[in-house]
Amino acid sequence: MTGVRVLIRPKAGILDPQGQAVERALPALGFEGVSDVRVGRMVELEASDPTRIAELCERLLANPLIEDYEVVVTDDSAR
């Protein structure tokens, strides 16, 4: 099995109101100088056939029209 982490984020240029809300909350907590906050999603999974991860991302985990994704292999040790 291969351990995989998929990072999914809103495409550049798409308004991310969730990121904006987080950014606006920070100064009230004393965190100054933080900008360009974007909120995405992370999916962890284990796959027996990691060659199909990209297809799985394109078809379900991300919507390529609005989201970019990045696949990170976290553990490809054979078990």
Binding site: I14, L15, P17, A21, L65
Partner: protein, 227 residues
């Protein structure tokens, strides 16, 4: 003429849609696990939270067994109406262009809005005229219509924008005030507002009924043309 209203786990507007359709034609519920549409003349994908809207709105429902039949029906020119979550499902299924993102205000909205009819070529709008104003309720958390610049230009040029929020009424940050779009062929319409909640006089507006009545008429005249 018979409407089929698809029920997914997590749908919540399918009964209102069924009863609204029955004001103008026959209508039956279709189960998401079925692989056939049972010979209906028009399909309604209703609002709700199909499969809990886990992952993304509409993302999982598009893989329901019945969606292959809906896609084939749409490809053959059959009238398909996606309302709210149904619109989101049809976008995810690539039967409609664009995507629905969380409202810019991040709040779930529930209110009556005015819409203007922009292009009236779909079976659901044929009985209306460009410029007509409709009063329909919206109730959604993710209704912000988005399409990349080039796609958006294409939609406008191909007259695929069926409905827009009236001036100053855009509740969710939708690009170009878009409330409803069709596919390129015009037989599939998706909209965020709820025509099924505005079909009976008791609901204050009956403007939503006009969309269903329009489809009922379009199917009936097609049938006459074939006969």
């Amino acid at each position: 003429m018979r409407f089929g209203v698809v029920r997914f786990p997590g749908s919540c507007d399918e009964v209102d849609a069924l009863l609204a359709c029955r004001r103008f034609a026959d209508a039956e519920l279709l189960w998401h696990g079925d692989r056939s549409l049972g010979g209906v003349d028009a399909v309604v994908i209703p609002g709700g939270f199909s499969y809990g809207d886990y992952l993304r709105v509409g993302a999982i429902a598009r893989f329901s067994p019945i969606m292959a039949a809906v896609a084939a029906f749409a490809r053959d020119g059959g009238p398909v109406l996606g309302i709210c979550n149904g619109f989101q499902v049809l976008c995810e299924a690539d039967l409609l262009p664009g995507a629905l993102l969380p409202n810019t205000g991040l709040r779930f909205l529930c209110r009556q809005v005015d819409l203007t009819v922009d292009h009236a070529d779909s079976p659901f709008t044929r009985a209306l005229a460009p410029g007509d104003i409709l009063s329909l309720p919206v109730k959604h958390g993710a209704g912000r219509f988005y399409a990349p610049d080039d796609d958006l230009r294409g939609l406008e040029e191909n007259n695929q924008v069926a409905l827009r929020y009236a001036l100053g009424e855009n509740p969710n940050g939708s690009l170009n005030d878009i409330a409803g779009v069709t596919n390129a062929a015009g037989n599939v319409l998706g909209l965020m507002p709820h025509p099924e909640h505005a079909a009976h006089p008791l609901s204050g507006s009956t403007d939503g009924g006009r969309l269903l009545q329009s489809a009922a008429h379009a199917c009936a005249s097609n049938a006459r043309a074939v006969a």
